[in-house]
Structures are given as structure tokens and as C-alpha cells.
Subunit: 142 residues, 2 copies
DNA sequence: TAAATTAGCACCGGTTTGGTGCTCTTTCAA
DNA sequence: TTGAAAGAGCACCAAACCGGTGCTAATTTA
């Protein structure tokens, strides 16, 4: 209910870390050593982000992941969309709901969904990294 | 993930119906006959709404439920809060999360959560009933 | 070749969710 | 005072979802 899954939070942490680390490719091992999240799980998450084109992947020694876009251009909406699927607030807004014909709140709910989505689309990874009003974030210990 | 549960949607439909029906008390039977949602389940939901003080309940013949407040004063935020619990978007925002100390996105996420909550708090039951810009809602066939 | 790394996929245990059954209590009206 | 119409309470169930892991490829570099 209206709560991010762990997957998404781990993914966001990794993306935020990558945003600060920048530059070269960083392996899952390196990331998890800094973030202390379950390694195998984060690997799965980053794979998804890679398939969605949000990060770039390179295999083999020296390989790893790298942001494909500018953190200021990557919206929270897109990230959540990849990690949790497209349905926000109500099914009928994107896909289709079986009780859609009989549903009396559909219209109103659609409006709410749009507003919520707008909020998510308004935040960028950069803002998530830096926190509200440029609060100092701990520098990566790489 | 970011999607309302069925419970909440059923609850909203019932509340919306009650808002339009208004006046006297309406039994679960009467409501479900108009809305076509699982009877026993809606009973459970309305019980919760009653305990939370959003609706008024009277037992016995002629009894049922009735809105306790003006639909224009009842926010979507409060309803969702009752039906799905208080955690919006992230645990650390209200309760506490075990990885809160090590979490790097906490601050940014908190800001997002506030914005999302504000949207929910901005919509009232009345707006859900009437839809965007006063779209005509089908009148209850009572 | 050997090692480092991502990709793919199946699996598992625990929780949540949608939904139902059954009994008890309250209230009204005949 | 009795019976029926309601809600209240609570236990229960099956299916879906979620966090997390194991194992085996495929790819790349040295
Ligand atoms: S049609 Fe109604 S019940 Fe179905 S997803 Fe939309 S709002 Fe929810
Ligand atoms: S501390 Fe981090 S991981 Fe925990 S709920 Fe808050 S944002 Fe999510």
C-alpha cells in the first residue's frame, strides 16, 4: 500500500551511489561493499535497470555498471516505473481493471493518479542524492 | 507498489455511494446491491471505517452506516490512512526502518513522501465522487 | 586459459491480500 | 417477549507477492 518495495529502495541507493561515484564502471561487488545491501539481490535489480536502459553494463574484469544519463535528467518516476511496474495508484489508469465499467470512483481516482505521477516525475535522481535544499550527503568512501 | 488495495477501492466506492445517497442509514446489503462488491468483505471494511470514526454505525433493523462528516471535509489522505495504514512511500517517514542509519536516500525520499501525502490530503471525498471538473456521476438507483 | 564480471532463471519461505464462515451482540417492531 | 434485521468480532483459507538465494551460462580482459 503506497509503499516502495525494498527492491526499489536498494535500486535507488545504488543509483544514488553511482551518481556520486560517477566516472568509470563500478561492479556490484564494489557497490554492495559500500552500501551493505544483499549482493545477489542488488545484482538482479541492476540487471533490470540495465535492461530498461537506465544504466549501462559491461561484463568481465573491470566491468560493472554506470549511469547512462545525467542524474539531473533521470526522474524518480522513471526509476519507480522500471522497478515496480507502471501501475500507479489504480490499475485502470494504465492497464485495465475488470470492474472498470461498474466502478464509480474511476474518474476521480484517475485525477489523483495523475497528480501523484506528476510528483514522481518532478523529482530527479540528483535531488534524491542531495536531499532537500542541498543538505550535505556523505561522500562515497571509494 | 504504489497501488491501492482492493479493500481501499471498495471502501472508497462505498463512501462515495454513501455521500451521494446521504440522509439516513444504509445497510451493507443495500450498498452492495447497488455497487456489486463482495458483501462480507465490504462489511469488514465498513467496520474499520466505523472504528476509525469516518462513518457512523447503527445496528438492528433499519440500521446501517452513514457518513459522519461532510464529504467536502473528508480527505482522501485520511481514508487511505485508515484502510491501508499510515506508511506512505517509505517506512522511515512515519515509523522506523532498520536500515535507516546506513540509508543514503532517506532525506530525499522524505521530501517526496511529504509531497505525495500533500496530494492525498488535497483531494476530498466530494471531488472523488464528482470526478474532474464536475463530470456527471450516475445517480444512485436507490 | 583463468579469472572477473554480468545475464538468466528457477526456487523457497514468509507475509500480505482478497475473500469467506460462523457466532455474538444490539436494536427495532410486532 | 419474541423474532428478525442488522453490525461486531474473529478465525480461517488460497493465491499472489516479496525479499532473498543458488546455480549455471555468457562475456570480457589479462
Ligand atoms: S476501475 Fe475502479 S476499481 Fe478498477 S482500478 Fe480503476 S478505480 Fe480501481
Ligand atoms: S531509511 Fe531508507 S530504506 Fe529505510 S524506509 Fe527510509 S528510505 Fe527506505
Amino acid at each position: 500500500m503506497m509503499r516502495l518495495t525494498r527492491r526499489t529502495e536498494y535500486g535507488l541507493m545504488a543509483l544514488a551511489w553511482l551518481a556520486r561515484a560517477g566516472g568509470r564502471f563500478h561492479s556490484v561487488r564494489e557497490i554492495t561493499e559500500n552500501l551493505d545491501v544483499p549482493r545477489r539481490l542488488l545484482a538482479e535489480i541492476l540487471k533490470d535497470l540495465s535492461q530498461a536502459g537506465l544504466v549501462e553494463a559491461v561484463r568481465g574484469p573491470g566491468g560493472g555498471y554506470r549511469l547512462r544519463e545525467d542524474p539531473g535528467r533521470l526522474t524518480l518516476g522513471r526509476i519507480v516505473n522500471v522497478l515496480e511496474g507502471p501501475t500507479i495508484f489504480a490499475e485502470c489508469y494504465q492497464g485495465d481493471c475488470d470492474l472498470s465499467p461498474r466502478c464509480t470512483i474511476k474518474r476521480g481516482i484517475g485525477e489523483v493518479a495523475r497528480r501523484l505521477e506528476a510528483v514522481l516525475e518532478d523529482f530527479t535522481l540528483e535531488e534524491v542524492v542531495h536531499g532537500p535544499a542541498g543538505a550535505p550527503a556523505p561522500s562515497p568512501s571509494s
